[in-house]
Amino acid sequence: EAGVAQSPRYKIIEKRQSVAFWCNPISGHATLYWYQQILGQGPKLLIQFQNNGVVDDSQLPKDRFSAERLKGVDSTLKIQPAKLEDSAVYLCASSLVSSQRSYEQYFGPGTRLTVT
């Protein structure tokens, strides 16, 4: 089966500009996650969707970050305006909803964002 797809793989922008990342989860995976991984740290959850509804966005900086999953499949994460501290790898992951397999998250390759 195809894995989690993300694009672009790399992005360089200047501070105060806007940027958007796209994620296509594994077919049939109802749960989708966006993580931020700053250099030298582990991934930190930003937002979790189940189908097209938000399960948890408590760690999403809502003044500048937004995310949507309109049809319960693809998702877009946007930053507007970007700050220097947003430089990180943005990871998308997906999982099944069934009780045991839902603990297995499948990660995409990530988008490396550099804000200058």
């Binding site: 894995g3 582990g42 991934p43 959850l45 979790q48 948890d56 990871l91 297995e104 499948y106």
Partner: protein, 114 residues
């Protein structure tokens, strides 16, 4: 809330030597435990998990981890490493429940030397 500590940020080891990557967690509730591996230029992959049952869990490529509740640890071990094991390894925890959210440690870079 949960937290995960990986004390060693970098672990160099010679090929065919044993290795242990340490992971300790803090939580006020029971947690499920995971090790993920990230090879260069690739996404995170689940290496092994502990949900319940035997406290010793194994992966298909020779790694094992043991859940120690009294020491709140989930150390990862391999008796003999290969060059291909060079990667970053992340320990993570998730509380039982419907959210299935992961809290990750800061990672350990394992470098296997020839």
């Amino acid at each position: 809330a949960q937290s995960v500590t990986q004390l060693d940020s970098q672990v160099p080891v010679f090929e065919e030597a044993p290795v242990e990557l340490r992971c300790n967690y803090s939580s006020s509730v029971s947690v499920y435990l995971f090790w993920y591996v990230q090879y260069p230029n690739q996404g995170l992959q689940l290496l092994l998990k502990y949900l319940s049952g035997s406290t010793l869990v194994e992966s298909i490529n020779g790694f094992e981890a043991e859940f120690n509740k009294s020491q709140t640890s989930f150390h990862l071990r391999k008796p003999s490493v290969h060059i291909s094991d060079t990667a970053e390894y992340f320990c993570a925890v998730s509380p039982p429940g419907s959210a299935r959210q992961l809290t990750f440690g800061s990672g350990t870079q394992l470098t296997v030397l020839p």
